[in-house]
């Protein structure tokens, strides 16, 4: 390639080059620590989860990764590798990846801004009656069934809790429904005690779709981060995370 053609090929990318140059100063410190931007390496992830883990436009299934707690993302990646969570495609990608790189990938996505818009604007409308059911379960749970409210663990704003509880905003409804099915059927496991297994078994099957649809219609316009670790204590025992029973 001659210099002229090389230059002309580079021309359309000039604005990107300038932007890169502008951020180069801040990037140098992290790059020196071997922490350069991972997104070039993670093209495989971007195909379904978006370039910055924001979720794919128009996706009906793939969850966003951006801004979820690193501890949560790391546990999911290890789960796919070690068989605690089943997704053929995810296992295919992570099966020969060690903890060190999985941790780095988890931290990479946890630092991205959380997705800001509702995932599923195309999902079925909720009737007033189903909407009321969903809102009641999200806000208050169903003590009669031993079902805690979503907000008790995932936070008042449903933006999650560091280090291990994910946000529930802007997840595709089909994805949420599929996770409830997976917890019920034993193909998705959390570290014991598996709190979501209990929750999925406590909720009435006919209410899962209503809650999932309602959640998918919520957005996070302020890109709010998960609540800081220890800022509240969830009521249910859940893996290695702090919870009320274990609190002094």
């Amino acid at each position: 390639m001659t210099i002229v053609t090389a230059l002309s090929a580079a021309m359309p990318r000039l604005p990107i080059c300038i932007a890169l140059f502008a951020s180069a100063a801040t990037a140098t410190a992290t790059a020196a620590a071997g922490n350069d931007d991972l997104s070039d390496r993670l093209a495989a992830c971007a195909a379904c989860h978006g370039k910055n883990g924001e979720g794919a436009q128009g996706s009906e299934y793939y969850p966003h990764l951006a801004g979820k707690p690193a501890g949560y993302l790391f546990e999911q990646l290890r789960g796919f590798r070690d068989g605690r969570r089943i997704s053929t495609m995810m296992t295919w990608f992570v099966q020969f990846v060690d903890d060190t790189y999985l941790q780095e990938i988890a931290e990479h996505y946890s630092k991205e801004l959380p997705r800001t818009r509702a995932a599923d604007t195309g999902a079925d409308m909720l009737t007033d009656e189903r909407r009321a059911v969903a809102e009641r379960l999200v806000q208050h749970g169903d003590p009669g069934r031993g079902l805690p409210a979503c907000i008790e663990c995932h936070g008042q704003a449903l933006t999650g809790l560091e280090p291990g509880i994910p946000a529930l905003l802007g997840l595709p409804a089909d994805y949420v429904v599929a996770q409830f099915g997976a917890w019920r059927n034993g193909v998705r496991h959390g570290a014991p005690p598996d709190c979501m297994h209990d929750v999925a078994n406590a909720i009435a099957v006919e209410d899962i779709r209503a809650v999932a649809t309602w959640l998918s219609q919520q957005s996070n316009i302020d890109s709010a981060r998960p609540a800081p670790a220890g800022s509240f204590v969830p009521p249910k025992a859940c893996g290695s995370l702090p919870h009320k029973d274990a609190a002094p």
Partner: protein, 426 residues
């Protein structure tokens, strides 16, 4: 009267010939010796730190854990399923549990099983690469035994094999051995590279084409072939096919999984991740040196199951491959598939491009790839999947474009892409 006598004599002669042939074949598979499994406790083997370290290293190079562990299961506790044309086999428990594992085995019995493929359970199925392990020195087999003895016992019970007749009968294995098994003598370890490749490394289990009864004949030895059932093609290992690697590049490739000429994927990614990344620099150099000295074999006919067949001369091959390549591939792999920046492999001479079958190319385009993490490549670059973005016709078109210099008969049609779809994980 004469006719009856003739029939009688013919029958007797034929019977005698059959018996003689059976005796010859039985003798050629080693006679009774393979079936004389040592009993009793036998003499103890050394289990000092040096021996255990040597055993651990050999167990890594033999990749015992890959077959004798389930996903997320206890290492070496068995139960990994192998789907074969004959049914499903499950690997055994190698931990020293007295009931479920090898806790009761003497060093002599272990050595016998590694050498002859026969244990107290009878003849072992040839998915266990005993024809390769037979070539190890006694000292190496004993070190492996010592290491396995030192594991924490697990009472995991692998499921019973589910095999169709006649493979479900261990006696059928005696017939198989008469036809296809010939005892191999232990090798001297003077050519360290050959010793590792043909012995503990058992490279030929994947890099050869199998003939009748899934045996590995000398004709197809290391000549490359389809890994039946898993949907991948393993390239030949010889001076010709490895010409593009210098010896040091090949040695690095074995340990890191990546090179200027390509990156490991599919089953080889697992081999590098769970085995070869532990190779010492000296052993990697010996293996590379030996592999590059292997004289090329004529490629044998490929055995293709339904999902591995491809179109050849009929079907929809697509004619917009160049345009799809420009849109989907060129940004990383370069406008002419020349590769970019060391992280994006060249496609020009890649195995997936030059293989006699398009199956690897199809599967990488469909499902993408993440190379294994290794000390030499701790943060691999990944290849995105295109199954969601491109139709089967588009995938066929772009694969045929990348492989446009290969024989017309190896073109892939849209319908073949659909037949090849599906990820086989274990």
């Amino acid at each position: 009267m004469i006719v009856r006598r003739l029939i009688l004599w013919t029958t007797l002669v034929v019977l005698a010939l059959v018996v003689v042939a059976a005796c010859v074949l039985f003798a050629r598979q080693g006679g009774f010796a393979p079936f004389r499994v040592p009993t009793g406790t036998g003499p103890p083997v050394a289990n000092d730190a040096t021996t255990l370290a040597r055993g651990e290293y050999l167990v890594r190079l033999g990749d015992c854990a890959a077959c004798h562990t389930t996903r997320g299961g206890v290492a070496f506790a068995g139960g990994h399923a192998f789907d074969t044309d004959y049914g499903t086999l499950y690997s055994s428990n190698l931990t020293p549990d007295r009931e479920k594992g090898l806790g009761d085995w003497s060093a002599d019995e272990f050595r016998h099983a590694m050498r002859y493929g026969v244990s107290r359970r009878g003849p072992l199925y040839p998915v266990f690469p005993y024809e390769h392990f037979a070539r190890l020195t006694d000292a190496d087999i004993d070190a492996i035994y010592a290491y396995l003895r030192a594991l924490v016992p697990s009472a995991n019970t692998p499921p019973a094999n589910r095999l169709a007749f006649p493979a479900n009968s261990r006696s059928a294995l005696i017939v198989w051995r008469m036809l296809y098994y010939r005892p191999a003598a232990p090798m001297s370890a003077t050519d360290r590279g050959q010793y590792l490749v043909e012995g503990i490394g058992h490279c030929a289990m994947c890099h050869s084409t199998r003939a009748a009864g899934d045996s590995v004949p000398s004709k197809g030895y290391l000549a490359g072939g389809i890994l039946v059932g898993s949907g991948w093609y393993a390239p030949p290992l010889d001076a010709d096919s490895l010409r593009r690697y210098s010896s040091s590049e090949l040695a690095d490739f074995l340990r890191t999984g990546t090179s200027p000429h390509g990156t490991v994927y599919g089953p080889m990614a697992e081999v590098v991740y769970s085995s070869l990344r532990a190779l010492t620099a000296a052993d990697a150099a010996s293996m590379a040196d030996y592999l590059k000295r292997i004289p090329p074999h004529a490629p044998p006919d490929m055995r293709l199951s339904a999902r591995e067949r491809f179109g050849g001369n009929s079907g929809d091959f697509g004619n917009n491959g160049a345009e799809i390549f420009k849109r989907a591939c060129a940004e990383c792999h370069g406008d002419n598939g020349e590769g970019k920046g060391g992280h994006y492999p060249a496609l020009t001479n890649a195995v997936a491009t030059r293989a006699p079958t398009p199956i690897n190319a199809v599967r990488i385009v469909l499902y993408g790839a993440m190379p294994p993490t290794t000390p030499g490549n701790p943060r691999p670059y990944s290849m995105p999947p295109f199954a969601q973005q491109l139709s089967s016709a588009e995938i066929a078109a772009v694969v045929n474009y990348i492989r446009r210099n290969e024989p017309q008969a190896s073109r892939v049609a849209a319908s073949d892409v659909e037949a090849m779809a599906g990820i086989v994980l274990d």
